[in-house]
């Protein structure tokens, strides 16, 4: 598989008045051609900042270091001005959570979409307009010529997000970074936008990084999932592995927090406590204070990466051989059973075909 984005030991440190903030702490991340990678975590886990470093969107007081940060063969850490123009916003594009603040309130949306086209100065006015109208239609807005003349405030939240998607995709980028694009929307509109993104991805062979805190949304869109906590990726795997064979207690917590068929008389499962302060680096696992499964060693030493399959990596001491036996929450055990049953099914299928 072709890697479109490759990050090795990515670190982002932001200098603040109260000292340095270690927002991203050594992240290894690959994005393969044509896949949707969901980057999951709570607010303050560093998921947005990690991806903003790809776009060069970080504030001046942020320092980005990495052993490698590349888009295809291009090194993103040392870009020339002209390379930067060719890549950021054109080859790698982005959509945001709040379309109202991402759009210019005093400019008609048609013109804003036109401006997003990098070579918009070099084609005729008529051609440009036709291109924009086609683009508006492409993102599923009926009567494009009316919408072309509207201002952002005249559109609904869902339509604004569609306009933002139109802007992000008009240059036919190779990578789309979607930073919580549906968090501010109603569930019905959210479902429509997810549908639109899937369809556009298929149509143009996009590779996508989708940032969210909602495992429900992840299930709807992701091929692969990376879970972030305190600036680190603590578990990464295929969507199947993360949903049905999750190993990290933090991933368990995220999965259980989404209301499902559970009895309403029972309490919703919650992770105790709040995300950690990114100004301090703890000696052990930063998740240990919130982890009901924490071992003594979690407070002493950072866990190494354990590999479960070609695609599944976990940073948790639970997977160490010396760890005493433990039982994950009941709903997670059920998920593991589903995983096992599926695998057995697949093995049988394979033996039959042989």
């Amino acid at each position: 598989m072709v890697k479109v984005i490759e990050a090795k030991k990515l670190q982002v440190t932001i200098q603040t008045n109260e000292g340095p903030l270690y927002a991203v702490r050594g992240v290894d991340l690959d994005l393969f051609q044509g896949e949707t990678l969901a980057l999951v975590g709570e607010s303050g886990s560093g998921k947005s900042i990690a991806t903003h470093s790809l776009m060069g969107l970080l504030p001046k007081n942020a320092k980005v270091t990495a052993d490698k940060l590349a888009f295809g063969k291009t090194d993103l850490l040392n870009l020339t001005k002209s390379q930067e123009q060719q890549i950021r916003g054109a080859k790698i594009s982005m959509i945001f959570q709040d379309p109202l603040s991402a759009l210019n309130p005093t400019m008609r949306v048609g013109k804003q979409i036109a401006e997003a086209l990098t070579h918009h100065q070099h084609i005729s006015h008529h051609e440009l307009k036709q291109r924009v109208l086609r683009q508006i239609k492409d993102v599923g807005i009926p009567n494009p010529s009316q919408t072309y003349r509207k201002y952002p405030h005249q559109l609904s939240g869902g339509q604004r997000q569609r306009i933002l998607i139109a802007m992000a995709l008009i240059d036919h980028p190779e990578v789309l970074i979607a930073d919580e694009p549906t968090t501010a929307l109603d569930v019905t509109i959210q479902a429509q936008i997810l549908q639109l993104l899937k369809q556009q991805k298929q149509k143009y062979g996009l590779s996508m990084i989708f940032i969210t805190h909602d495992m429900g949304v992840v299930a709807a869109i992701a091929d692969r999932v990376a879970v972030m906590y305190a600036g680190e990726i603590i578990e990464v795997g295929t969507a199947e592995e993360i949903f049905y064979h999750p190993q990290h207690p933090y991933t368990w917590g995220l999965l259980e927090a989404v209301p499902s068929e559970q009895n309403p008389d029972e309490k919703l499962f919650t992770l105790p406590g709040t995300p950690p302060d990114l100004k301090t680096i703890s000696k052990g696992d930063p998740f240990a204070p919130r982890n009901p499964y924490a071992l003594d060693i979690d407070f002493e030493q950072k866990p190494p990466v354990f590999q479960l399959s070609d695609t599944h990596f976990v940073k948790s001491w639970l997977l160490d051989k010396r760890t005493p036996a433990y039982t994950p929450p009941e709903t997670i055990q059920k998920r593991w059973q589903t995983f096992k049953a599926r695998q057995r099914g697949r093995l049988n299928e394979a033996s039959i075909s042989v």
Binding site: V187, T188, M215, G216, A219, P264, L268, T274
Partner: protein, 296 residues
Amino acid sequence: MKQVSVFNVSHLSVVFGKNRQRQMAVNDVSFQIPRGKTIGLVGESGSGKSTIARAISKIGPITSGRVNYEGKSIEQFNSADKRKFRRNVQMIFQDPFESLNPRLKVGEIIAEGIDNFHLAKNKHDRFHQVEALLISVGLPVDAIDRYPHEFSGGQRQRIGIARALAIQPKFLILDEPVSALDVSIQAQIINLLKDIQKQRNLTYLFIAHDLSIVRYISDSILVMYKGRIVETGPAEEVYQHPLHQYTRSLLSAAPQADLYYERRKKFVTYDRDQFNLTGKLVEVEPDHWVLQAPAK
């Protein structure tokens, strides 16, 4: 024993604008909120759910219909009634970033209501009340001397809840209290609200756009669309056996943390042009009502 309703809303309508701009935000809505229970009000943006919340809490207009609080119409309140109402009915908003005064320390934000209603005997008592409130919503006591911006979204929502509880209300209107929060924090706040309700025997009106969240906290659910109630019934009934096509579409739109389910899922679509504003609510099962179009 007959259930006592805190609120009794009958044929409530709210109209905004005039002539061509005329908008029926709420259209002939009737419901009761029994004491100690939670009513979930669900619908998309623009369905009129917040307009109802504003109307019954006396901060928004009522065009026609009646809203009774403890048996008395809220439009015929005298000044003593009003004062009592202001103390008994409190609201918690969606955005914990905008609803807290950034210039006041958390202790002062919470104590404002205590001062307004003279609920503290002395300074000492005032401090202890604030302290007890912070503990009851799961915040550290040292929050008293800190400012709202020092807290995360979930913690700020806890501050909002402590502020509402400070004047010992009987009824809380929760207007999308968890929509702006991370999923993992949403569950914490829902659990907290459930605990507080039990401890203090509170009555809730819980507003949200997502049925699966409302189900956890509500005894019964009202589903709204374009200002009308399209379906109402016991929470579990509405969730398990939705009758109106719109309710079904709302349920199918909420993503589940289950990959295989999401991959197989067929969305229920709702044809919005089909919606008939003149339909009538019909009781299909006991207490379970659905809006049906009039026979042609």
